[in-house]
Assembly symmetry: C2
Homo-oligomer: 450 residues x 2
């Protein structure tokens, strides 16, 4: 039996990110200003992002060098292993080969620091003292806390109220890296105060928390805003994942036939497969499958429309498959996948038929998670398990020798409460009614399509 | 800067464990039968352990081959990285070199599966269907659950009542590998029933849980008992850690000057340093430092006496530095270090002056944990952080170039409640009074010393 773990030495880490923008077929619809609805210019983003990230957001270069200081932090936990899932293959009874990229070994336990570290570095370099962000269950918040600590930046996190109360562990983790955490809506921002005044018992939402973080950044000279998914430069930073996979598969002489990842905002899946997109564009037979929850079916059921990325409607307007920015997804345990839209790059590729999308219910997803845990040993996050489910389904019907690769984007150590609910048979599936989607779509901004 | 992560490829994993028994100077005091107080013979242990482990307990061989099937599971998570702690060195301002072996990347998050996997394999091979064990906070229980799942064995875990109630996450983790968990004292055993009858509100203790697990094994033909530390064969299995470290240090041309580990029962520290003991016996200048909590100061304040390994007094009687088997340690957060005695091999070496022992209070230990987290990024378990504290102290006073290596035995993802207590300034130190030790020592069994 060949080795299960394909390792790269530290010196083999990719030295540049892959920027898909110049390779994209068709033209990516521009991001629009939330007020004027005209295409964004770099200056519009300066109050919230550092110049380096704004440039990356629109860069025409194929490769963007990873700064030495970023590589120094990446190598605290990267390169990550690519593993062959022999035991899972055996349990499924497939003659396909299954590989998984293990992004769960980073200090915060997911792929999130790949962009957090880059963003913290560029902000530090441009003289920023503090980063503000929002977090739901805490994956992104804890990743940014880690990154800020590595570069000596302060970090302020607005955490969705109900998660702040119910899921304290990732909050404590972020605190252990020195971040200050506020229960959102907070008394720190005007928007937070206003929200609390209107509803003193408000449990918060990601939309409210984003608005608080953006306000914090926009109203403090030394502070910028940091975002964990969706936008182009975040996807760019995540390509370190796919670039490593490319080297690792080369080492064992394999080529991927199917690449699978879960999608919330789309950054882990995109970072994983985008470096392989040129192969498909060159005619290679390779499938890219995005997996989302049926409870939040933007890619599989949403229309391709211009919408706000944030609930409050203060951020850029982008074209994406969306359920409407006022959409409130059911309380599934894969909190990281409860987003109304998806990364514009990913949506553009879906529209062009270059990627596929599938949706699964959470019970079958937890079944898949358990099979993975009981064979491979590692407990996936509920988000990640969406990919695992799709892998199992594809492996069952695959021709012998098919190479299926997926992104094991994070561990489930902080999600054991959800597993307990599943063990007790209390997990619920949500069949999302079409009327609710229609209703939510009424909130879309009016945009003159080019 | 040289590479931070020293990796071994899967094929480089050591193929045999190192057995220290034939190399031990002096003669290791024999283990005694709890009833007769005469030296144990292999048959005495057969009702609870498989023959292969009993043979290892007394083996005269220097190297014991690791079975192929065990290596196959080891390589699900091994070899583990050895990391150079550049950032920690910089923060301390030391010119010593600090390396740490990262055992936190295993599926259960600690070094514990190294022996769990071996024990599960040998039991499976000898026809055993089920393993029973006890667990406190759950590190050991979850590791055995993982190992049993890998070999298709059933697993029954008696979990200390108060931990069962207050620390459910590691319980859910064990359940995700299919283990059945009972709150101890349970209604499954005579001893459990008796205990509950006497005290219906009993919160349990490790001693009670051990007694339940041993009774379960002894009263079921198809069931054996499995233990996570203290005994010789557990230390043997853990030497995979030190043997890997040896290869990794060789790769970078380093020799350790100081090796440090935390000690509860003694298995992680012993597995880490024992392969280096022959160097010291051959005259090399190398220090081995065991670190324990001041709240449970067996190595630093206990006398070297024969005592029961378990509270109920049903297991073997062994010679060790002990606080007495009736000793109930204060409720420090490093639950894995709350053991009244230590591994006989380790105690023998301490008695001979071949190793040193140090004790630290938990507040200073958490300070060290936080410094490590904020520099290296990884959050250590409170147990592990005892080693980290000693490393920092040694590094501060070390000569330039001194090579300090320690065992990062587990992560603290499941201990964030304890970190929160620390952040809130609510952590307490315990200065253990001499009278309590004197009192506990009255419970020592009467043994005729040879």
């Amino acid at each position: 039996m060949a080795e299960k773990k394909i390792l790269l030495q530290e010196r083999e880490i990719p030295k540049a990110w892959y920027n898909v923008l110049p390779d994209l077929p068709g033209s990516l619809p521009p991001e629009l200003h939330p007020g004027t609805k005209k295409p964004l210019v770099p200056e519009d983003l300066l109050p919230i992002f550092p110049m380096a990230c704004i440039e990356q957001e629109m860069s025409p270069q194929h490769r963007i060098d990873i700064p030495e200081e970023v590589l120094k932090v990446y190598t605290q936990y990267r390169p990550t292993p690519l593993r062959r899932a022999y035991r899972l293959e055996e349990a499924i009874g497939t003659s396909a080969k299954i590989y998984y990229k293990d992004e769960s070994l980073s200090p915060p336990g997911s792929h999130k620091p790949n962009t957090a570290v880059a963003q913290a570095y560029y902000n530090k370099k441009e003289g920023v003292k503090r980063l503000a962000t929002e977090t739901g269950a805490g994956q992104w918040g804890s990743a940014l806390a880690f990154a800020c600590r590595m570069f000596g930046l302060e970090c302020t996190i607005y955490m969705v109220g109900i998660s702040y109360d119910q899921k304290p562990y990732r909050r404590f983790l972020a605190q252990s890296w020195g971040a200050e955490m506020f229960r959102s809506p907070s008394n720190r921002t005007e928007f937070g105060k206003k929200t609390r005044k209107e509803d003193p018992d408000c449990l918060g939402s990601l939309g409210i928390a984003i608005s608080e973080a953006i306000e914090d950044a926009a109203t403090h000279e030394d502070t910028k805003y940091s975002i964990g998914s969706v936008v182009n430069h975040v996807l760019l930073h995540q390509t370190i994942v796919g670039l490593e996979v490319e080297k690792q598969l080369d080492k064992v002489g394999e080529k991927p036939d199917i690449m699978i990842g879960c999608v919330g905002g789309g950054s882990n899946f995109s970072g994983f497969f985008l470096p392989f997109l040129p192969r498909k564009l060159a005619g290679e037979n390779i499938r890219f499958i995005a997996v989302e929850p049926t409870a939040c079916p933007s890619l599989t059921r949403g229309p391709y429309r211009y919408d706000f990325g944030d609930t409050a409607g203060t951020g850029p307007v982008v074209k994406m498959f969306t359920l409407g920015h006022s959409f409130v997804p059911p309380p599934i345990h894969a909190g990281g996948l409860r987003y109304h839209g998806d990364a514009p790059i990913l949506c553009h590729l879906l529209k062009l038929g270059l990627i596929e999308a599938q949706a699964y219910h959470q019970k079958e997803v937890f079944d898949a998670a358990l099979l993975f845990t009981q064979t491979e040993g590692f407990l996936p996050a509920p988000e990640t398990a969406h990919a695992t489910k799709a892998v199992i389904e594809e492996a069952k019907k695959a021709k012998p020798g098919t190479v299926i690769v997926f992104n094991h984007s994070g561990h489930g150590y902080f999600d054991l409460g959800a597993y307990d609910t599943y063990f007790r048979g209390k997990l619920e599936d949500y069949a999302y009614p079409q009327e609710k989607i229609e209703e939510a779509l009424k909130s879309l901004p009016e945009v003159e399509e080019v």
